[in-house]
Symmetry: C2
Subunit: 256 residues, 2 copies
C-alpha cells in the first residue's frame, strides 16, 4: 500500500508520502512516491503516486521523456496547473489503455491515483487528485487536503487540526503526524517518508526532507506525539453514565 497527502493553504503547499510497496506480504520493497520538478522563478510541479507500481512508473517515465525530448506537451510547456493535471490525466489514460486489458485477464488491479500540485507563475498554487480514469478533482479552501492510497488512519488528525489559513510549518507538522498515525496502525505504509513544503510565489522548494526508518528526529517526534496524545487522553473526563438505555434481548426496533 501507500499513503500520500497533499495540503494546500493560503501560504503554500505541503506534500508527504511514504515509500512502502508490496506485491503480497512476501514482496515488500521501497519505492519513492513523491517527485518534484522545479524551474526556479517559473514553476514547481509535485507529483505523488499510489496504486499499481508498473503503471505509475510508466506514467512518470512518459512525463520525463516528454521533458527530455522537449515534446510540444511537456511540464515546462503549460501555462496553467489545470493543463498540467489534464496532461497527467492523459498519460494515465494512455498507460491504462495499454496495460489494463492484460492485467484484467489475471484479475490484477490496475488502479492508480496521483496527486499533482504546484504553482506556475501568473497563477495561485493548486492541488489536484488524478483518478485512474484520468479525470481529476481540485482541492479547495473548504477541504484543503487530498489523500491517496491508505487514507483512513491519517484522516482524523487532519479533520481536527487542518484549515486553509494554518501556517505552513504547522501544516507540515500535521502532515507528518498523519503519516505517522498511518504507519503506526498499518504495516503496509512505511518509511522513508518524503516531505516537501512550498511557499506561495517563491518558485523554489523551501524544505525537502527524507526521513528513514530509525531517523532520530522521526523517533523523537513519534515519542513526543504519543506522550502528548496520552496526556490529552488522561485530561479527558470519564464517561457520564448518568442515564441508561434499557437492556435489549431482541433485535432493535429502529427507533433508537
Amino acid at each position: 500500500m501507500t499513503y500520500c497527502l497533499g495540503i494546500i493553504t493560503s501560504s503554500g503547499l505541503v506534500f508527504a508520502a511514504d515509500s512502502r510497496t508490496n506485491a503480497g506480504v512476501d514482496y515488500v520493497s521501497t519505492y519513492r512516491k513523491l517527485f518534484d520538478f522545479v524551474w526556479e522563478g517559473d514553476r514547481i510541479i509535485v507529483i505523488c503516486t499510489s496504486g499499481n507500481l508498473a503503471i505509475t512508473q510508466s506514467i512518470l517515465t512518459l512525463i520525463h521523456n516528454d521533458l527530455h525530448k522537449q515534446e510540444a506537451k511537456n511540464l515546462t510547456a503549460f501555462s496553467s496547473m489545470y493543463d498540467v493535471a489534464s496532461y497527467v490525466g492523459e498519460k494515465t489514460r494512455w498507460v491504462q489503455d495499454q496495460q489494463k486489458p492484460w492485467l484484467q485477464k489475471d484479475g490484477i488491479d490496475a488502479q492508480c491515483n496521483l496527486l499533482v500540485g504546484g504553482q506556475i507563475s501568473g497563477e495561485p498554487p493548486q492541488l489536484y487528485l488524478i483518478y485512474s480514469q484520468g479525470n481529476f478533482i481540485q482541492a479547495t479552501p473548504e477541504t484543503p487536503f487530498l489523500q491517496i492510497g491508505e487514507t483512513k488512519y491519517g484522516k482524523p488528525i487532519l479533520d481536527r487540526t487542518l484549515h486553509f489559513d494554518i501556517d505552513l510549518a504547522s501544516a507540515a507538522k500535521c502532515a507528518l503526524l498523519s503519516l505517522d498515525s498511518t504507519m503506526k496502525s498499518n504495516i503496509s505504509v512505511g518509511p522513508p517518508i518524503h516531505l516537501l513544503t512550498y511557499y506561495r510565489d517563491s518558485f523554489i522548494v523551501k524544505h525537502r526532507l527524507q526521513l528513514k526508518a530509525g531517523d532520530p528526529f522521526l523517533i523523537k517526534f513519534r515519542q513526543q506525539w504519543e506522550i502528548a496524545i496520552r496526556q490529552a487522553f488522561e485530561q479527558m473526563p470519564d464517561i457520564d453514565w448518568g442515564y441508561s438505555a434499557p437492556a435489549v434481548n431482541t433485535i432493535g426496533t429502529g427507533e433508537d
Copy 2:
C-alpha cells in the same frame, strides 16, 4: 456502514457501536447494532453486528427464537464462550447459505461480521470476532480489542492508548473517542452510540449508555477532545528541516 468495537481488559469488557445503516446514500437509517443478553449471576453475552442488515437481523432473530423456544442449543445452554461463538458462527453459516446465492445473482454484498463477547460463570471474560464464513478469532492481551465495520479511522487512538491492564473507565473513554473519531471523519458512521461496560466476575452490566445525536455529554466530550488534540498538536515541535534529500526529476531508484 457501521463501526463496532469490543475491548477486553484484565478487569472486564467494553463494547461500543454506532447505529447508522445505509443502503446507498439516499437511504440512510438507524438500527441498533449492540445487543446484550444478561442472566444475572450466571452469564452475560453481548453481540455487535456489521454488514448486510437483512442477514445480521436474521441471525439475531434465530438466536432469539432458540432462546424463546428453549431449544437444546440456546444462549443459556452453553458452558463456555467458545461454544457461544461456535453457535453464532453456525447461525451465520445457516443464514449465509439461505441468502447468499440470491444476493450474488444481483451482485449484492452478503458479508457480515459480528463481535461476540461476555462471560459465563466458571470462565474468564472472552471476546470473539465472527466472520461471514462462520469461523472466528479471539482477542488476546497482546491486542486487546476487535473491530468490525468501518475500522480504520478509529484505530490510531486505540493503538496509542489501549492496553490490557488499562482500567475499565479509561477503556470506555478510549472506545468513545474511537467512535467519535470515526464519526467525525466518515459520514456513514453515526449516532446514537451505544456503550456498555462489564466488570469481570460481576455478571451484571455495570454501565449501559445510549448517546443520541445532539446529546449534551457527547457534544461536550467532542469539544473537549478537539481542544485537547489541538493543545497536543501545538505543543509538538516544528519539523527539523536540518537535512535535505536531493531534488528528483526522474523516477526513483528504489534505493531511498
